[in-house]
């Protein structure tokens, strides 16, 4: 009888309500797994399987198997009378039995899988003692009988004349304790029986079966089904309130208090940032505690990498010709696989060590994609202008007043950025790190991180592009580079890009809005003739007409030179040129709408609508706003330019 056994054993005092609940959940899961097992047959599960299954079920809102692995290990290790913890080939394994008792404790370190004899007579009830009248009638009939019938057949006794009668409850394992419900969600991870002990769980877990359903099953030892057999030290204390104390309120900041009697998940959800900030400060003060990104460990337990190891890593990155992940390095340089026991320590130690070798290694990854590069690796992207010039061109993005509103929306729970390509972006294969990009792309993981590699998957082409997001620094703005191939092969200026979140923080889908195949004359730069020309081109992407550089709107630009570098850097020159190409002549002035100026201003330099508007409204005598029409402006050229 599971419950009776459990009640006889003490509860571990250190178990928290959350640990008890978790251990209870896992016990039910494993009992269901071993529902057709003998009572004493060990039911085995690896810690990894349990964590992955619970992550799949989003246990307590947690989806990270690593986090759950630690919680599970702690909870089950705190119940040694219910769960036997062992290590097999470097993997942590937990065992229990259908009765909710750890296997080793059942028969004094000797596991006896054979229990039919016990089960045959378990639950047997004694034949009812005859009443005095019955005794008397038997006596009159001449029967000889003992005055007292034997007591109820003991579970371990040999069969006797008073052995099981039809009134004995049949062994519960004849009764399907739970009908396998095929409609139920499948267990996330069928355990892979790596070793052939008696506890192969494949048939049980491999079935699509519910986890919580075992609550309904009857443990074998009981004649009547017990709905919730509680494990030994896992009393259902979830309902029990913690010991009442005078005050469980703590102050986190002036005016901010947390109630520690709330569940930890709730405290984390409401006050997590306060606790994180406080704890990080504390952890940083401990010399033996080190971190890489959000992971922490003890320095004296990290793996040591020699100068020679680091040299091999650098040579590997150069040989690969581009940034690589620390997983690639572990696999290819150090021949370590994720399933090896010390892998997580080795990988953390590698990341930590590389982060301290700033002269030779640069981190360009995210929390879920640790990417490293080194000096000498070819830069990503080919642009008309140097990186420093592009950074300066995008400097205005760091002023919130000069950026356009975000173009990001949410679709099916994922962020989607829809953006119309300008001539500048098309020519250089870049995108601005503006409000929209800052919403959708990952922030730097490390404080001094300069860039991050973005994996942009183009499903329309079945190609993955590695682009680089260069974060703003100093007086330079940020931008994304490396898309010139995607743009030039498939798009034209004015095309509409759609970028949506992928499976990792640096993984995205990049697509373009498709349209009817059409031919149109659009503006190009003729490198040979060093002139702007309108050329017919056939394309199948949808374009925004108001952003397209077509001859009907901008005929005056045909045959013109580009602005030289010094002219390009002067706002007034760029704007004046834009008016001359896009504006209507009115006496000694030009007149144009912002929407007509925007595409042509974005030939030589990037401008947002807000930036243009700000410049045109504040550039003194040359430019002035039409007070009667919003976003309409005049430009009066200086005498020398007329």
């Amino acid at each position: 009888m599971v419950q009776q056994l459990n009640q006889d054993q003490t509860t571990e005092p250190q178990m928290t309500p959350e640990q008890q609940e978790l251990a209870n959940t896992i016990l039910k899961l494993m009992q269901y797994q071993g529902r057709i097992y003998a009572n004493n047959r060990p039911i085995r599960q690896t810690l990894k399987n349990l964590a992955e299954y619970l992550a799949g079920e989003k246990y307590q809102g947690i989806e990270d198997p690593t986090e759950l692995s630690t919680l599970v290990d702690q909870a089950l290790s705190a119940s040694p009378k219910v769960f036997l913890r062992e290590e097999e080939d470097g993997e942590v394994v937990f065992k229990t039995t259908k009765k909710g008792v750890a296997p080793e404790l059942e028969t004094g370190n000797k596991i006896n899988p054979h229990s039919f004899r016990n089960r045959l007579y378990e639950g047997a009830r004694p034949v009812a003692e005859p009443t005095p009248d019955e005794l008397a009638s038997r006596s009159r009939a001449g029967e000889s009988h003992p005055t007292n019938l034997p007591k109820a057949a003991e579970a371990t006794s040999a069969p006797t004349a008073t052995a099981p009668t039809p009134s004995v409850t049949p062994p519960a394992n004849r009764t399907p304790v739970v009908q396998p419900a095929t409609s139920q969600p499948a267990v996330a991870q069928p355990p892979k029986p790596a070793t052939p002990p008696v506890v192969e769980p494949v048939p049980a877990i491999a079935e699509p079966a519910p986890v919580i359903q075992p609550v309904q099953q009857a443990p074998v030892a009981q004649p009547a089904p017990e709905p919730t057999p509680a494990p030994v030290e896992v009393a259902p204390v979830a309902e029990a309130a913690p010991v009442a104390t005078a005050s469980r309120i703590i102050e986190l900041a002036p005016g901010v208090e947390a109630d520690l009697s709330l569940p930890t998940n709730q405290i984390m959800s409401e006050f997590g940032n306060h606790f994180r900030t406080a704890l990080v400060k504390g952890l940083q003060s401990n010399n033996n505690l080190v971190n890489f990104g959000n992971e922490w460990f003890l320095e004296d337990m990290t793996t040591h990498y020699s100068k020679g190891d680091l040299r091999r890593v650098r040579e590997y990155i150069l040989e690969m010709g581009g940034p690589v992940t620390s997983g690639d390095i572990m696999n290819d340089v150090f021949n370590k696989r994720p399933q090896e026991g010390d892998y997580s320590i080795g990988r953390f130690s590698l990341d930590y060590r590389l982060s301290r070798e700033k002269k030779d290694f640069e981190f360009a990854g995210t929390n879920d994609d640790h990417i490293w590069t080194t000096t000498g690796v070819p830069t990503i992207g080919t642009t008309r202008y140097k990186a420093t010039e592009i950074g300066t061109d995008y400097k205005f993005l760091e002023d919130a007043a000069l950026v356009d509103p975000s173009e990001v929306r949410t679709e099916n729970g994922k962020l989607v950025w829809e953006h119309t390509l300008t001539f500048y972006e098309y020519e250089n294969g870049v995108l601005p790190y503006d409000t929209s990009a800052k919403t959708i792309f990952p922030k730097p993981l490390l404080e001094e991180q300069k860039s991050v590699i973005l994996r942009l998957e183009a499903p329309q082409l079945d190609v993955i592009y590695n682009a680089e997001l260069r974060y703003p620094s100093g007086n330079r703005g940020g931008w994304i580079v490396g898309l010139e191939g995607f743009f030039s092969d498939n798009l034209v200026p004015g095309a509409v890009l759609v970028i949506s979140q992928g499976n990792k923080s640096n993984h995205f889908l990049i697509e373009y809005k498709q349209g009817e195949e059409q031919e149109a004359r659009l503006l190009f730069w003729d490198e040979r003739r060093q002139r702007f020309v309108f050329r017919p081109i056939i394309f199948a992407c949808a374009i925004n007409r108001e952003d397209a550089l077509t001859p009907d709107r901008y005929s005056r630009i045909e045959g013109q030179h580009r602005l030289d570098e010094s002219e390009r850097k002067r706002n007034e020159t760029v704007l004046a040129t834009a008016f001359e190409y896009a504006g209507q002549r009115q006496g000694d002035s030009y007149y144009a709408l912002l929407d007509d100026l925007h595409p042509v201003a974005n030939i030589d330099r990037p401008f947002s609508h807000a930036y243009l508007r700000s410049l045109l409204s504040s550039s003194g005598a040359m430019f002035r706003q039409d007070e009667s029409i919003p976003d309409a402006f005049y430009y009066k050229p200086p005498t020398s330019r007329r």
Partner: protein, 48 residues
Amino acid sequence: MEENTTLTPTSEQLEKLADWLRRSGRPQALDMLVRRYIEFLKEATTTK
């Protein structure tokens, strides 16, 4: 996201966290450490 906080872990709590980290035998995410820290705080207020 950093928050202004007056909360300061004690050296004893930090040592307990370090012990827990050592016993876990593997690097841990910050949030796991924060959860353990909250558990220590709960235990401390329970046993007062």
